[in-house]
């Protein structure tokens, strides 16, 4: 356990060291948040609600989105693709280290820093514009939100790990990861609440793991989900996480096997 804790610490230092890259990531997220904030503000001006979202709920959705993007949808996919295609990955494999555990520690360190940054950004925006901010109506929905947040991070970790592992076969390209990242952002509700979409697409998405990443956690926070449904959602999120953890482990092993067969 100690080595993973150490990896976490070192990675925090490294992330801070690359200050420009950190700054860029944050400015990017901020631009998306600001632009959607204004978009919904304009759209909701003169309307009491839109699709059942009150003004304060919709703006809170945007803020929550920034936090979930930073914590749940942040990962090391591109680094992993790079390590696989450059062959650097083999240097980890000879060490007495579980690579998934190691990658999770590094992921967590990145998530930690981005979470702090996102909280500061949202705080600054709240101070600057004084928008109405929606607070959870019960301790239960607050707690359930935290649980959903943790599950979302784990689910994303395994999903991203799975897609990045494809680099073992796609001969050194991040194409699949690029496609995945874009799809995830839309399908998870990291640009807009999924209720906006036509019913059919919504229905389709509800059979996928994506809404559990952003859309459902925020809806739990906003108290738009009944207690029974909340429990079912959390269970489903856990189930998806377990399924993708298993798949990603299997694919990882197969990838390694094909990797060493080719001799790197």
């Amino acid at each position: 356990m100690r080595k993973y804790w150490r990896a976490y610490q070192i990675s925090i230092q490294e992330t801070l060291q690359r200050r420009s890259s950190l700054l860029m990531d944050r400015v990017g997220g901020l631009a998306v948040m600001l632009s959607l904030y204004y978009f919904w503000k304009t759209l909701l001006s003169g309307r009491p609600s839109f699709l059942g979202y009150s003004y304060s709920q919709m703006l809170t959705y945007i803020f929550g989105m920034n936090i979930l993007r930073s914590f749940a949808l942040t990962g090391r996919g591109w680094e992993l693709v790079g390590e696989i295609s450059s062959g650097k990955i083999s240097s980890y494999l000879v060490r007495p280290l579980n690579y998934h555990g190691y990658a999770l520690s590094l992921d967590l360190s990145k998530k930690t820093i981005h979470l702090f940054a996102a909280l500061i950004e949202v705080g600054a925006l709240l101070m600057l514009f004084h928008p109405p901010f929606y607070l959870p109506q019960s301790a239960l929905s607050g707690l359930a939100f935290l649980a959903a947040l943790v599950l979302a991070s784990l689910l994303f970790f395994f999903l991203e790990f799975l897609v990045s592992s494809l680099a073992f076969w796609t001969s050194e390209s991040g194409g699949p990861l690029f496609f995945f990242e874009l799809c995830v952002q839309f399908a998870a509700g990291a640009f807009f609440p999924l209720d906006v979409l036509p019913r059919l697409i919504q229905k389709g998405l509800s059979f996928s793991p994506f809404p559990y990443l952003v859309f459902l956690p925020i809806n739990i926070y906003l108290g738009r989900v009944g207690e029974g449904q909340m429990l079912r959602d959390l269970l489903m999120a856990g189930l998806w996480t377990a399924v993708f953890a298993a798949i990603s482990l299997v694919v990882w092993r197969k990838g390694l096997a094909s990797y060493s067969a080719e001799g790197g």
Binding site: Q9, I12, Q13, E14, L16, Q17, R19
Partner: protein
Amino acid sequence: MSAIEVELLAKEYQVFERKPGLWGSIVSVFWREWKSVRAVDSISFRIEEGELVGFLGANGAGKTTTLKMLSGLLSPSSGSVQVLGFHPWKREREFQRQISLVMGQRTQLWWEIPAQETFRLNQAIYGLSEKEYRQSLDELVEMLNLKDCLSVPVKKLSLGQRMRAELAAALLHRPKILLLDEPTLGLDVVMQKKVREFILDYNRKWKASILLTSHNMDDLAALCPRVLMLEKGKIIYDGSLEQLVRRYAENKVIRMVFGERVSPDKIAAFGADIDSLGTSALISVPRSEVSRKAALFLSSFPIVDMTIEEASVDEIVRTIFSRA
């Protein structure tokens, strides 16, 4: 006019110092401390047309920095540098058409596709006519034995093949000045020899001035009648390699073969290295003590054969560097 004229050339950099630990990295997000480093310190030399000159020096002695200033990649902090009458740092097109720089650990070849595509690109960049290109390429393919490598993606070539293709890409436009930074880095002995032979051929054939840096003493011994030795940004030697060796070779090596096993402890007491079988040993001794020591060994050990040799170039250079 000489091909290369360098007068009191100097180069200084700013580098920032990294502080250790978590707190240090948080601090360096906002604040960095800079210090200046003198990489090249007032050097002067001339190189004539058709001359082959080697640069010698430890890591960080200023070899690469000097090459970069000669190619126009770096501008000097002070002093003057002229190559073929041009100031390299102005990077005039006419100048660029006459030089080439090859860096052993870097490649201009496109990784995913065959090398001949990069050659074609260079044809367009250097504005070579189809006839010039064909002629030059055929020659290089012949000299470098590249026939089978032309249409294979570069990533599938061996290191030696890649280096030869790299040289071909750099020489298509027949530069008059060729700057080589570690051209044999990572190559096996056979391939090193081939690359050396090619460099010599090119030099003779086109009267090109060639400047090369290398950690490999065999390169310099085989190629360069003249070497420049750099230490901490200054030239500390300019002349032939043999003379350098003679000047710095304070020690000779005595090699002994014993008729029977000798106890390692006994021979170690004399400061010599013995092999694992205990049947031979060598020792490095100052020139002035060679005869005295040789006599001492002969009387103390059952020696059947003894030779006294000059230290190898590698060894000498290592002692010079370790002194620095």
